[in-house]
């Protein structure tokens, strides 16, 4: 049954996004053919026209679907503004993706496991208290989770800021490119200042 799974994947890939509308058209045409065949006794001419037209649409669309390359769903363009730098991230869909992008932008890497904790002054080795590997690993995990939480909050603030900028630009009658224009102007001002 691997051929069925392959065929299903191929078909599902081909009917994403705009192609869903095409699939609906094919379904509607097939329904028209079925109606046409059923009403042949009462309206032979109309039935013939309906059936031939429906079949032609089904054949043409099906052949076109099989021949054209798969097209993914359209994704909205989203942006992150980090201080003076503008990062465009197409296809950014989830909070986790935003966190990963921010983690990369800030060049944050997970720290290794500490061998001890300091109870006193870091300059005095007598104040070092060794910890187990399990405790050290737990510290690293906690750090990772808390950093993710902070980055997620930062992402939310950035997205909120972008949304506000875009809304302001739209209200003032500018197009969607006003955001990047504003960012460039701010950058120029910073450089000159």
């Amino acid at each position: 049954m691997s051929w069925l799974a392959t065929l299903t994947k191929s078909v599902s890939a081909k009917i994403e996004g705009k192609n869903v509308a095409v699939a609906i058209l094919v379904g509607f045409s097939a329904f028209a053919v079925w109606i046409g065949l059923g009403s042949y006794a009462g309206h032979p001419i109309l039935s013939t026209v309906l059936t031939v037209t429906g079949l032609a649409i089904v054949v043409v669309v099906t052949v076109a679907l099989l021949l054209i390359k798969p097209q993914p769903s359209e994704i909205s363009e989203k942006a992150l503004v980090i201080k003076r730098d503008l990062f465009w991230a197409e296809g950014m869909q989830t909070s986790q993706e935003i966190v990963e992008i921010l983690r990369e932008a800030h060049n944050i890497r997970d720290l290794p496991e500490p061998v001890a904790i300091v109870k006193g002054s870091a300059t005095n080795p007598a104040d070092y208290h060794p910890i187990s590997s399990a405790d050290a690993a737990q510290l690293v995990r906690t750090d990772h989770d808390q950093i993710n939480q902070m980055l997620s909050q930062e992402g939310a603030r950035i997205i909120g800021s972008i949304s506000a900028s875009r809304m302001a630009a739209l209200r003032s009658g500018k197009d969607a490119s006003a955001l990047s224009t504003t960012a460039s102007a701010a950058h120029d001002k910073d450089v000159k200042g």
Binding site: A116, I117, A122, T123, Y128, E154
Partner: protein, 113 residues
């Protein structure tokens, strides 16, 4: 009396505190000892931490150190951090203002904020 012009490094030091702010506050790490490890300092504030025989990497330079201790450790620079040091080295013969120096306490604790 003519006003004394600030040196290039003084201007640089004056701007450095105001021009590198980030949305993300470096994540605070306190009271830890790292030994024989490689660490990337970017994105963290280390407070009262010790680094023994460690390789410390810095690229964005968005880090802080508060009363930290170093023993037999090395720093590897890249990116903006490396460019900043190269520019500073260019003016190394000039007098470096205090605002560009790390704070070194009598007990060898290092603070860079």
């Amino acid at each position: 009396m003519a006003e004394e012009k600030p040196s290039f490094l003084q201007i640089l030091a004056g701007r450095s505190s105001a021009g590198t702010g980030l949305l993300f506050d470096p994540f605070l790490i306190t009271d830890r000892v790292y030994k024989d490890q490689q660490l990337n300092l970017d994105g963290y504030t280390f407070k009262n931490c010790a680094f023994i025989n460690c390789h410390l990497a810095i690229s964005n330079a968005n880090f802080s150190l508060d009363k930290c201790y170093f023993q037999n450790s090395r720093v590897f620079l890249s990116g903006n951090a490396l460019k900043t040091v190269k520019l500073t080295a260019l003016f190394a013969r000039m007098e470096i203002p205090d605002s560009m120096r790390a704070q070194l306490d009598p007990d060898n604790a290092v603070t860079i904020i």
